[in-house]
């Protein structure tokens, strides 16, 4: 059971944290029979944001292979021009069936709405799954902070 704990919310009501998350049709395509594809099972969603940074998180399964992977977030202020990329290293715990990807985005502007989609790549920078649908978040005003955390029970 998961419970959403809103630890700290600053101007959250005005932020439009995210849109419903959907997988692209690419997730259902057979693709390369030999290529391994992870599947996004939760998120992506905004975990937290300051006036100049944000953390996006999502959960994927069907993970296997190397321990080191990278979460990748393509983002921008133009829905049709996600021209910027943030990439963070994440480690897969081979003892667990799924893994959480978290990516930190820096150098954002306060009070600004950003659109984004996510994917993950392996240690060799090869895409290992579908890109998510486009979601959005809005950074808080200068000096403010949003914490949006899903606490497992």
């Amino acid at each position: 059971m998961k419970k959403l704990v809103f630890v700290t919310v600053v101007f959250a009501a005005a932020c439009g944290l995210s849109t419903p998350n959907r997988l692209t049709a690419d997730d259902q395509s057979p693709g390369n029979a030999t290529a391994h594809r992870v599947q996004i099972t939760e998120g992506p969603q905004l975990e937290s944001a300051s006036d100049n940074s944000a953390i996006i998180r999502w959960t994927a399964d069907r993970v296997k292979g190397t321990s080191l992977r990278y979460g990748v977030v393509h983002y921008g202020t133009d829905l049709h021009g996600l021209s910027q990329t943030a990439k963070s290293p994440n480690r897969w715990n081979g003892a667990l069936p799924a893994m959480v990807y978290r990516v930190q985005i820096n150098h954002l502007k306060p009070g600004t709405t950003y659109f984004y989609r996510v994917e993950s790549v392996d240690a060799k920078d090869i895409s290992e799954g579908p890109e998510s649908a486009v979601s959005q978040f809005t950074t808080p005003a200068a000096g403010e902070r949003i914490v949006n955390f899903t606490q497992p029970e």
Partner: protein, 297 residues
């Protein structure tokens, strides 16, 4: 800081290099790495972990994701028909994967290094940048250091991939504390420091940092946490280096009790639970010279 002539400083640097090599040679010996901890005894079936230690072990290889870098030798659950390409081992686990990571540790401004930005009597300035100095870890090594040449020009392009990264330490003996008097220290006198810059001063602080680094992140330097917060409790100053920051950690959702259980587990990794004997010093086999290929002996 000790004032030294350029010649003496060169000699001192050579001596420090040799210190490091000597310490490494000692650490690889069986006197240090005796593999006689309670956890080793547990793996051998001759000891039982307490409820807190067992809970910590399960968190270590589960929710807390510690074993993604601090390999416990037990982490592979590939499905039937899949190939095991992990780091499975039949020897005592080392609790490190020997890789390099940026865990987003804040600067430790208590280090004298940051105030050594003035020339000594010989005109040598140890840290011209003062508090602006950023320890880039392996990146600093690859890209040269205060005017010294890079160790290998071919490595310089790799620098962006290594800035902020330091080697994953083994957790064996991480909870070891010095003996009490008369041979050791009175309680409270010896302060153990953790991480490359000694910012964290207890295993509890270490686990709390991994658990809440991003939850209590503030864009401040150490000593400047906002009113109403407590540094290392409800405020973590900003990372010394953001690039390459490992995001496996930072918001693990551990309770205080779970943090304590993880500490209890790590304290089982201290050698000496099983009396050290000549037989115990022979383990693990893979550490012995004979286990290495001829080219490495």
């Amino acid at each position: 800081m000790i004032a030294l002539s350029p010649t003496d400083r060169t000699h001192a640097q050579q001596a420090y290099d040799e210190f490091g090599q000597a310490i490494a040679a000692y650490e690889i010996g069986s006197e240090v790495s005796s593999f006689t901890s309670k956890f080793d005894a547990f793996l051998a079936g001759t000891a039982t972990l307490t409820a807190a230690e067992m809970s910590g072990y399960n968190l270590f290889r589960g929710k807390a994701n510690c074993n993604t870098c601090h390999l416990d030798g037990r982490s592979n659950t590939q499905a039937a028909g899949e190939t095991d390409n992990g780091m499975a081992t039949n020897a005592a686990p080392m609790f490190t994967d020997f890789t390099y990571n940026n865990i987003g540790l804040p600067m430790n401004l208590a280090l004298p290094w940051y105030s050594e930005n003035h020339p000594d009597q010989f005109g040598f300035t140890a840290n011209p940048a003062g508090v602006a100095f950023i320890d880039l870890g392996v990146g600093l090594f690859l890209d040269s250091y205060y005017g010294s040449p890079p160790p290998d020009l071919d490595w310089v392009p790799l620098t962006p991939f290594f800035v902020g990264k330091f080697q994953t330490s083994t957790l064996r003996n991480v909870g070891q504390v010095p003996p009490a008097p008369p041979t050791g220290y009175p309680a409270g006198v010896f302060v153990k420091a953790f991480m490359h810059n000694g910012y964290l001063l207890s295993l509890n602080e270490v686990v709390h940092f991994y658990n809440t680094r991003d939850k209590f992140a503030f864009p401040v330097l150490s000593g400047h946490c906002p009113a109403g917060t407590v540094e290392k409790v409800t405020c973590w100053p900003m990372p010394e280096e953001q690039d390459n920051k490992n995001m496996t950690i930072g918001n693990l959702g551990l309770t205080s009790a779970e943090e304590n259980d993880l500490v209890a587990f790590m304290e089982t990794l201290t050698d000496g639970f099983v009396p050290i004997t000549p037989a115990s010093l022979s383990k693990p086999a893979v550490m012995g010279k004979a286990a290495l290929p001829p080219s490495h002996q």
